[in-house]
Structures are given as C-alpha cells and as structure tokens.
Amino acid sequence: MAEIVSLPEAVAELVRDGDTIALEGFTHLIPVAAGHEIIRQRRRDLTLVRMTPDIVYDQMIGAGCARKLVFSWGGNPGVGSLHRFRDAIENGWPAPLEIEEHSHAGMANRYVAAASGLPFAVLRGYVGTDLQAHTPTVKPITCPFTGEVLTAVPALQLDAAIVHAQRADRDGNVQMWGITGVQKEAVLAARRSLVTVEEVVDELDLRPDAVVLPSWTVRWVAEVPGGAHPSYAQGYYDRDNAYYRAWDPISRDRDAFTEWLSAHVLDRQGDG
C-alpha cells in the first residue's frame, strides 16, 4: 500500500547516490518538483533514464546529479537544444556524462519489457542506423518460427521511478489522464516508486478514461500542487511555453544557470 508523505521525505527514502532512476512524463505531467528536490538533496552519480529528457533533466545534469543518461530525444521541445546536456557531453561540465542512446520505439519497448517482467523486448527498429554500432544494448534476434532477424533491446531495470499524476485518494490510489506516455510502465518497472499528485482527495470520482495505479503498485505518494510546472497537468493548468523559451538563454550560460539554480532550486524548499 502506498504511503502518503511529503516530497522531501519521499525523495530521501527513494533516491540513493548511484541509483538508476526515471522521472517520466511525455510533455504532459513531468515530475519537475521531484527533480528539483533531488537536486536540493544533492544526489550524485545517478543514471538518469527518460525517453525525452527536457528542462528538468537539463537542470539535474547541470547541477551535477548525473553520471549517465539513457534516452532517445534530448531537446527543449519546440525551442531547441538542452544546453546543460550539451555542455556536459561536449565539454564535460560540470562532469562528463556517459550516454546510452536509443530510439523512442526502443525505449518504450524497454519499459514494456521491464513492466512485464521480461529481460528483453523485440521490435523492428534501428535498422540501417549508426545507433546499432554505438549502443551495445541493441542486438539482433532471430524469430524461431520464420527465421526473420529482428532487433532486441534489454528491459529497463529501474531502482526508482517518479511520475506526476492529477489525483490520488488517501489510500494512495492514483489517477492520471490525458497523454500518459510510458508513466505506468515506468512505475511498474521500478523497485521503488513515487507519484507526486496535484491533489489528494477523499474519494476519487469515477474516471473510466483514467490510467489507474492501484495503491499496492506504488510505494509513496506526495501531494505537490503545480509539481509538473512548467509542463502541464490536464484539468489543472496549461503548459508554460514562455518558461521553456526563457530557459534557452539561462541554460546557455554556466553562470546564469548557476545563479538560477541557487535562486530557484537550492535556496527554496519543497515547493519545486
């Protein structure tokens, strides 16, 4: 059964130096506040996993939390580059960043395999690309019935997963709706999981369209209103596109970034 705790408590229990963790969210419901709490708690040597690392991963990388990134698309959607991510890879600042690079189809299937308790997944992918040569976690596999050769990718084994959802009840049953990406898979793929929610309610009203994570599949739930900002929470608030654009100049410059980090993350408390 999920325990309802504060964000700082949850993160302290959830994330340990050296862990492999995913903060998932496909444009919608990105657990940004939880990422900031990880930065505040000064976690180090993390392997960060996500299909679409965006601003919050840029911030965690710039803050020095990450040793490695496993991903399939690292950009500022609709704006351009992630400059902290680029600075780490191109110049090793603040520390060198090891990368393991996949396609979206491959990453999605790696989550599915882990959520399914399988060691690998099969897809038609990576064919003819240079990813095959640079990513050792892509291998050929032969169909035992037709002899056709396809592509295999290993399951994404996670120490911890964090996702953001609209609502939970006091027992820790979680509802999320709208674009839900691979969040369910990430939670089911992880040894430990945290769901931050816009609100904890006495009773979840019936939402047959919602993706539901029953309390017994989640370890911690923390109420963090606005916890997905600057991404959006359908039914609560819109995407703050201006923030994504404003991030570009801040993140281009190490000093501007460092200043921003102190002012907006390190010197603030669990309000993200």
Binding site: G78, V79, L82, E90, D130, V182, K184
Partner: protein, 253 residues
C-alpha cells in the same frame, strides 16, 4: 501577395499530403505543414503524433508533440508503446514527415551529432526520437528542411534515420517495408530520388529560385532533372491560412 521562402516551403510540403491518409508528424516544420494541409485541401488528413494522439485536430499549432490541445482534439489517445508498436511498426501509416539537421544525396538523415566523433561531438543534437522507425515503417517519407551546404552534406556524420543508404537495393536488403524518402522539400525547391540511382534529384524550383542557387546550397554535385518544374506560388488562401496558424502560435508565446 508576396511570401517568404519558408512560407513557400511549408505550402509545398502541405500540398504533398493527400487527403484521407494518415501522417506521422514530427514537431516544427512538419507539424506546421501538416496542420496547413488539414485546413486547406486535406480536411480528413489523420495526424498522428508520437505522444499517442491519433486523429488530432489542433486548433492552433502545438509547440510540442504532446500539447494538451492534441489530446483534447484526438479521435483516440493511446500509450506511447502502442503508438509505435500497433500503429507505426506494421506500416499502417501512409506518410512519415521528418525534418533533418543533415541529409545526404541518398536521403539518409542525421539528427544525432555534428562532427566525426560520436563520443566527442562538435555539436550534440537532440537525437533520434521516433525518426528511425518512422523512416523505416511509414509507407513513404517526406522530408522538409532548409537547403544549405551545412545541411545538404556529401556524407552525414551519423545515420539517425535510414534513407536509401548508399543507393539502390539497400532498403530491400535490410528488409525495410516502407518506400523511404519520396520527396525532400526545401526553401528552394523539391528533390526526388531518381527511380534508378535513388540519388536525390532537383525536380522543381520555387518561383524566382535558380538551379545555380540550389547547386550552391548543396554540399554535393546536385543532380538536376531534364525538366525542372516551377512550383506553383502559394495561393492567397494557403498564405492566409498559414499566417493565421503562425499568428495564433505567436500569440500563444
């Protein structure tokens, strides 16, 4: 009514999309063109975004592939694994619509790194996203990209999305089911693969653009068709619709 080269590019790309077909849309230029097509000649164009929104009818241009407007206007929203496994992979989708940071004469695309050393790139680009499988599994691929020597290179630094490899037969050898890139639409004109050699060949120039100019903007010895057409200029309706779309987008900023 006058127009910019980018507007001509978006209009030409929109025209290339047939009504009543499904299109897997990348963000940026492809999304603009696809939404323009849906508002002009292709009202029943099915837009599919990798966020799992199928049949989205956004009222304004989404800034990301996962904007709320896509989910709220979609015929159905499915999980990300499903959109790739059930919808893209089996070849159900007619057109894959991609951009590029680098493209070579055989339509191979790079969106991963600039520079010869993958481990220590000169420029680290966002990476693959859905593109490798879009390029492999859609029945056809349309590329929309501004034409310059920086972008149109003799050899891409990294093959993120496979076009025709090194020429005829490569796709077939690799068992790729999709036809590959059938159109490359730029701010200068339109290139199509030669049916025999698969080399991208200039088949149309936008009004006012010369072959010379296209050659200068290409990092290899550009093949030019015997008959080079001139792209029909944007109609008033196309321009007004496109500008309305982009104005709404600006407001939103």
């Amino acid at each position: 009514m006058s127009w910019t080269a980018d507007e001509m590019m978006s209009v030409a790309a929109a025209r290339a999309l047939r009504d009543d077909t499904a299109c897997f849309v990348g963000i940026g230029l492809p999304s603009t063109a696809a939404n323009l097509a849906r508002r002009t000649h292709a009202p029943n164009l099915v837009l599919i975004y990798e966020s799992g929104t199928i049949g989205a009818k956004p009222g304004r241009l989404p800034l990301s592939i996962g904007d709320g407007v896509l989910a709220e206007t979609a015929e159905t929203v499915v999980g990300v694994p499903e959109v790739f496994n059930y919808w893209l992979q089996p070849g159900r989708i007619e057109t894959g619509f991609l951009g590029a940071a680098q493209i070579d004469r055989f339509g191979n695309i790079n969106t991963t790194v600039i520079g010869p050393d993958y481990q220590h790139p000169k420029v680290r680009l966002p990476g693959a996203g859905g593109a490798p499988e879009i390029a492999a599994s859609c029945r056809q691929v349309i590329v929309i990209v501004r034409q310059s020597r920086r972008t149109f290179v003799e050899r891409v630094d990294f093959v993120t999305s496979f076009g025709y490899g090194s020429g005829p037969g490569d796709r077939e050898r690799l068992g790729l089911t999709g036809r590959g890139p059938v159109l490359v639409i730029t701010d200068l004109g339109v290139l199509e693969p030669d049916p025999r050699t698969r080399e991208l060949t200039l088949t149309s120039l936008h009004p006012g653009v010369t072959v010379e100019r296209a050659r200068e903007a290409t990092g290899w010895e550009l093949a030019v068709a015997a008959e080079v057409a001139t792209t029909a200029p944007p109609t008033a309706l196309e321009l007004e619709t496109l500008r309305a779309l982009e104005a709404a987008d600006k407001e939103d900023q």
